[in-house]
């Protein structure tokens, strides 16, 4: 493989690049989907190819191809340089990549059971068993169960001397039940509404206990049809850990991406209210709010050995004791702030340019038992499992909805509620956080569907969270 990477980098340099890197990726994905007792989708997907990124002067170019052959590598490296030279016709400021990156080594996701060693028959058996239990409930119109296995074999090399090889495994699965009446449709999912997915082996799926949770999921979906609609009021809100994870993703993860802050995502993904003068100078949340970006915690979708610039995995604080202190950075953006990259550049395939992406952005655990948070709440609403999400382009005004909710009265969960939504402004919301669940309730969730960039890239990100309580939140904005 080194022959290919060296050749590409030599061609790029000879054509005029002052920096170049290449990624060669062999991607395999196997998905099994079952719906209403039938196979809804099943199969393997293979994709291989390479992408070359070059810096000529202060302008970038990127070209990629599915055909991994020496002549094609020459063509693509030459094209990348030509594209960079074209970029220079509309030039930007000087590009400084900071310290050279000379990483070398190998990394493989720690797994107990290779997800591709589990036969399709075994996967189907698991999913059909879960699906059958979902369908036992007469209120369920659509039952679904799925499992995924991913293997990414990546090589990265750059003109500064880096050469790393990684094999990243992902596994995941979920069940969902949709209950339907003449006028209503309600869905419940487990473990999460997006597919539950992490870096790991098949044990990640078996630990999720899809079969053991199917009966509950079906019953909750059916019960929601006749539940009361979430009332519209300002109240105390308690979120389960998966919804806190979504809240972190949208209102902390994205606004701390430094490319957004610098405006380079303005036309598509949006910008950020966390402008550079706010670093170490802005109260983002209450004193108990501590948010961390890391790429080292086991099972996170943002866990790896090196990012797609060859920068090693690391852990950095974003919010400490409520104060905003750090960003998610690339080499180029970090150097603008006289910092070093914390390794957040990733591309969703060989054919895409690396962008700043969340790694595992997590809320550190607090001290509360969930039961104590509920018992300590006189009047409020408990919401669980994300259903809808929308936030403005500066990541301030958000409105999220959940699959299920419960009214809290006198420290107890009482009425079941459907169509639950809540809304707020990011820093006001996090400043109202007055209770966070302890490490027993902390779970590292995966978001496999984060969209960013043009052409659109879909990336997996991780978010650890415990349940948390927020005061004076507007809920029930449904119509």
């Amino acid at each position: 493989m080194k022959d290919f990477t060296s050749h590409a980098l030599n061609v790029a340099t000879a054509k005029g690049a002052r920096y170049a890197d290449i990624r060669i990726i062999d991607h395999r994905q196997q998905v099994v989907s079952v719906k209403n007792g039938n196979v809804d989708g099943i199969g393997d997907q293979y994709s291989q190819g390479f992408g070359i990124r070059v810096l000529v002067g202060n302008s970038w170019g990127f070209a990629s191809s599915a055909f991994v052959a020496k002549a094609e590598i020459e063509r693509v490296a030459t094209l990348a340089v030509q594209i960079a030279m074209a970029s220079a016709r509309v030039p930007g400021p000087p590009v400084d990549l900071g310290s050279p990156v000379r990483s070398t080594g190998q990394y493989t996701t720690p797994i107990e059971v290779d997800p591709f060693s589990i036969s399709l028959e075994q996967k189907l058996d698991l999913l059909f068993r879960a699906d059958e239990i979902l369908r036992r409930n007469s209120g369920v119109r659509v039952s679904e169960a799925n499992a995924i296995a991913v293997r990414n074999h990546k090589f990265f090399s750059n003109t500064e001397g880096a050469f790393v090889e990684q094999i990243l495994y992902e596994s995941g699965g979920a069940v969902a039940a949709t209950a339907v009446s003449d006028t209503e449709v309600q869905t419940r999912s487990h473990p999460n509404s997006f597919r539950y997915q992490g870096t790991g082996g098949w044990e990640y799926v078996t630990d999720a206990d899809l079969v053991g949770n199917a009966e509950r999921v079906a019953a909750e979906a059916a019960a929601l049809l006749s539940a009361e609609v979430c009332p519209r009021k300002d109240t105390t809100l308690v979120l389960d850990s998966s919804q806190v994870a979504l809240q972190i993703h949208e209102s902390c993860g994205h606004p701390t991406e430094l490319d957004r802050v610098f405006g380079t995502e303005a036309a598509f993904a949006g910008r950020s209210f966390l402008t550079i003068e706010k670093r170490n100078n802005f109260r983002y949340g209450s004193d108990i709010v501590n948010l961390t970006a890391d790429s080292v915690r086991p099972t996170g979708l943002g866990t790896f050995g090196w990012d797609d610039e060859g920068v090693p995995a690391s852990s950095t604080p974003l919010v400490r004791d409520g104060e905003f202190v750090g960003y998610l950075m690339s080499r180029e953006t970090a150097s603008t702030l006289a910092l070093e990259s914390n390794g957040c550049m990733r591309a969703d395939g060989w054919n895409r340019l690396p962008l700043i992406r969340m790694t595992n952005v997590s809320l550190e655990p607090g001290t509360w038992e969930l039961d104590d948070i509920i018992a300590d709440t006189d009047d409020g609403i408990f919401m669980e499992t994300n259903r809808s999400w929308s936030i403005d382009d500066m990541r301030l005004n958000f409105q999220f909805g959940t699959e299920i909710g419960y009214e809290i009265k006198g420290g107890k969960r009482v009425r079941l509620l459907k169509n639950c939504t809540y809304a707020g402004i990011t820093p006001d919301f996090w400043k109202s956080c007055d209770a966070i669940g302890n490490s027993r309730h902390w779970r590292l969730w995966g978001t496999p569907n984060c969209g960013k960039g043009e052409p659109m890239q879909t990336m997996g990100t991780g978010h650890g969270a415990s349940p948390a309580r927020f005061r004076n939140v507007k809920v029930g904005v449904f119509r």
């Binding site: 998905v31 039938n38 599915a66 509309v90 930007g92 006028t183 449904f478």
Partner: protein, 444 residues
């Protein structure tokens, strides 16, 4: 290897009862700019071969981008092996039979051959105009070409090549911004000067926006915002699978008048005014599919699977690509909201008090059965008072049933704009004037 050769290799290696080959060959180039300079500039050459093998009523799927003959043969075997593992699915009635497909032109060599230098020149116009206006421009220009082929063992063989050109920009001033976009299958659709002028004029109009109390107001929507109405209604249930599963806004409404008489929504894959594509991903010719006619909900669109579940139904030619992830179901990819006879100026003049909205952003479904959607206004929101645009306001969040919104349609614009859809395909939409629209919060 051309698509017919690829299909032949796969078919000859397949032992399945029925075999389908879907091929994509894509060349996509995209130039991104921000802060008045090009910061990302990419090109991609890729292929994807999807094999669907059918044994009795069992379906296996295998996907690869490896075109070596031995790999294609292995792909066919893999798809068959996957099919064999399954229990029968009696709802599947087989792959489509061959039908006559009328070719349609949607390929422009100027797009396929658009160079990085040409893209830089187009983008440069926008960046320079923005800089001259004291603003910062961001956006992108795409030039892509796609060859798609579908073949199956029942005699279907269809090929189509198309191009897509798209350029869009957000131009930002100190406290306001403007948006403009052009889409077409021909390069002439891209008008960089006009794009820049449109966005800069919105920056100027929108300067110094003020807070505004959310509530229910009449609105005039530019085509960019109207596009979102169609896209989200499509996502929330213009396909038969969503209706069959009870999660569509069309459930219980087919045959009923649910929108204003003036509302006519149709999917027309053959209309060269959009981004035409004469057949779907199963090789079935696209039929002109009325979805809402004179305000009455007519029908969702079908693929062969969903049509096979209902007596007497035929596919309308709206299959999406087969995926191991599960069926997305049929979807309209060339939606048209038929134009009316009212100019944008007249819509504003006839609004006593309301809001003028450039576009919606980050819209998501809150509840699919009524197509309740939440999202933000962006890049220019204005108060209309006594028939004139009075002043800009800060962006607002809305939470609104799009079905109900179109029930209060007061006027539809006389001209339409083709826009690339976020869900694939394109929409062709005019401005609309709606009597009621619910805004639920504001931002800073």
């Amino acid at each position: 290897m051309n698509f017919r050769q690829i299909a032949d290799v796969v078919m000859s290696a397949s032992s399945a009862d029925e075999t389908e080959v879907l091929g994509f060959e894509e060349n996509e180039s995209l130039t991104r700019f921000a802060n008045n300079c090009i910061h990302q500039n990419v090109t991609e050459k890729n292929v994807q071969i999807t094999v669907r093998s059918v044994i009795a009523t069992k379906i296996g799927i295998a996907i690869s981008n490896d075109l070596r003959p031995e790999s294609l043969r292995e792909l066919a075997i893999r798809a068959s092996n996957v099919a064999k593992l399954q229990p029968p699915n009696p709802q599947f009635k087989g792959l489509p039979r061959s039908q006559v497909i009328t070719p349609v032109e949607s390929f422009d060599g100027a797009v396929a051959e658009c160079t990085p230098e040409q893209r830089a020149a187009s983008v440069g116009i926008i960046c320079r105009k923005a800089a001259q206006a004291g603003c910062a421009a961001a956006g992108s220009m795409t030039a892509s070409s796609l060859n798609v082929g579908v073949a199956n063992s029942n005699g279907v063989f269809a090929e189509h090549r198309l191009t897509l050109a798209d350029e869009s920009t957000v131009i930002m001033g100190p406290n306001s911004s403007g948006w403009a976009q052009r889409t077409g299958w021909h390069l002439a659709a891209i008008e960089a000067e006009a794009l820049a002028d449109e966005a800069i004029s919105k920056v100027k109009m929108g300067a110094d926006p003020v807070d505004f109390e959310p509530g229910e107001y009449s609105v005039v929507l530019e085509p960019y915002a109207t596009a979102d109405l169609l896209e989200m209604l499509a996502y929330d249930g213009m396909g038969a699978l969503a209706v069959q599963e009870g999660r569509s806004w069309m459930n219980g409404r087919i045959g009923e008048r649910i929108m204003a008489d003036s509302v006519n929504i149709v999917d027309d894959g053959t209309n060269v005014a959009g981004i035409p594509w004469p057949f779907d991903f199963e090789g079935v010719p696209k039929k002109v599919a009325p979805i809402v006619a004179s305000g009455i909900a007519v029908s969702p669109v079908y693929d062969s699977f969903t049509a096979g579940r209902e007596d007497g139904k035929q596919s309308t030619g709206h299959a999406t690509p087969p995926s191991p992830q599960g069926r997305f179901g049929p979807a309209p990819m060339n939606l048209f909201l038929r134009p009316g006879s009212t100019s944008l100026e007249t819509m504003i003049k006839t609004t006593k008090f309301g809001l003028y909205i450039t576009r919606f952003w980050y819209t998501r479904t809150v509840h699919p059965r009524d197509a309740v959607v939440t999202g933000m206004t962006r890049d220019g929101t204005f108060v209309i008072r006594n028939g004139e645009i009075a002043h800009p306001i800060k962006s607002l969040r809305f939470t609104q049933s799009y079905v109900e919104g179109l029930k209060y349609t007061q006027a539809i614009g006389e001209t339409t704009r083709v826009l690339r859809s976020g869900f694939g395909g394109a929409v062709s939409v005019p401005a609309v004037q709606l009597g009621k629209f619910r805004f639920t919060s504001s931002t800073r």
